[in-house]
């Protein structure tokens, strides 16, 4: 397996959506290829840091204002179209 082959499979590897044999081949590659090990590890960290960052959280005050606006528009509407 080349580094390029490894990269192609990286997303499926991180998402655990691959068969056991391909997984074993990728893990074998990671044993000896330091660059792919680092790329794999830092890609995993990239995903985790975005997932856990609370980037673009909806502040409570804005949340209340948006909800009031949405509900008043819904109530002003005839109801779900049928």
């Amino acid at each position: 397996m080349t580094c390029s082959d490894f990269l192609k499979e990286l997303t499926d590897y991180l998402d655990e959506s691959m068969d056991a044999q391909t997984r074993a081949e990728l893990e074998d590659h990671l044993q000896w290829c330091h660059n792919c090990y680092v790329v794999c590890n830092t890609t995993k960290m990239t995903i985790e840091i975005y997932r856990d960052s609370h980037l673009y959280e909806l502040p409570d005050e804005l949340r209340g204002r948006l909800r009031s606006a949405i509900m008043s528009k819904c109530k002003g509407h005839e109801g779900p179209c049928t």
């Binding site: 990269l7 192609k8 990286l10 997303t11 499926d12 590897y13 991180l14 998402d15 655990e16 959506s17 893990e27 990671l30 330091h34 660059n35 090990y37 680092v38 790329v39 794999c40 590890n41 830092t42 890609t43 995993k44 960290m45 990239t46 995903i47 985790e48 840091i49 975005y50 997932r51 960052s53 609370h54 980037l55 673009y56 959280e57 909806l58 804005l62 949340r63 948006l66 909800r67 606006a69 949405i70 509900m71 528009k73 819904c74 109530k75 509407h77 109801g79 779900p80 179209c81 049928t82």
Partner: protein, 209 residues
């Protein structure tokens, strides 16, 4: 090496009951659905539009559209996936309005070898949380994702931030599964490459905060 475990919140069992009640005209049932998903819709909208005002408008318009079109929700997917589809379309529409000079499309699939080839191969140490304050970290993450093409950041936010499955993402975006996987791989690698500039192990200490 460990793999990513998505934080997918399964919808509560009463969700379809709320949808049915809302379809029958129960506005308070719909309000509960708004309460359940408004944070997610805002996050998705802000990731795509990169503009706070637009994200606020997307939240309002997406829920209103969902309410008006509930009868067209045939329950073949989760309510949330259907709502995400509406929200993404609204967000992309606003992005196009702000950038009429640029093509903004989910089909945007810039294929170059170099954008996926890792150049930065230094490990990250210490943990970025130890290097930067929460505020600084958010600024770096915001600036970094802003630089991605809209189609890449849309797939990334749905899959990796919101935890939709590949199939749900494909369904919400009207893309094939290979197209979702290809955009996701490149989004992840490009973000990793850009973040490495901030987070890489700086043995010489140059530029370290």
């Amino acid at each position: 090496m460990g793999t990513i475990q998505p934080k997918v919140a399964e919808p509560a069992g009463d969700e379809m009951a709320l949808v049915h009640a809302a379809k029958a005209g129960d506005v308070s049932a719909f309000e509960q659905l708004v309460h359940r998903y408004d944070r997610n819709v805002f996050r998705i909208a802000q990731h795509i539009t990169q503009n706070r005002e637009d994200a606020e408008d997307v939240v309002q318009d997406a829920f209103l559209k969902a309410y008006q079109n509930l009868a067209n929700f045939h329950e073949q997917s989760k309510f949330y996936t259907w709502l995400v589809r509406i929200a993404v379309n609204e967000a992309l529409m606003r992005l196009r309005r702000r950038r009429p000079e640029r093509m903004v499309s989910l089909d945007e699939d810039i294929k170059t070898e170099e954008d996926s080839m890792p150049r930065e191969v230094a490990d990250w140490a210490p943990n970025p949380e130890q290097l930067y304050t929460q505020g600084e970290l958010k600024e770096i993450l915001g600036k970094t994702i802003q630089g991605l093409p809209p189609s890449f950041r849309t797939v990334f936010v749905l899959r990796d931030v919101e935890g939709l499955s590949t199939e749900e993402t494909a369904d919400a975006l009207d893309l094939s599964i290979p197209a979702v996987k290809s955009r996701l791989l490149r989004a992840r690698l490009q973000l990793r490459e850009r973040l490495s500039k901030y987070f890489k192990n700086r043995t010489s200490g140059d530029g370290k905060k």
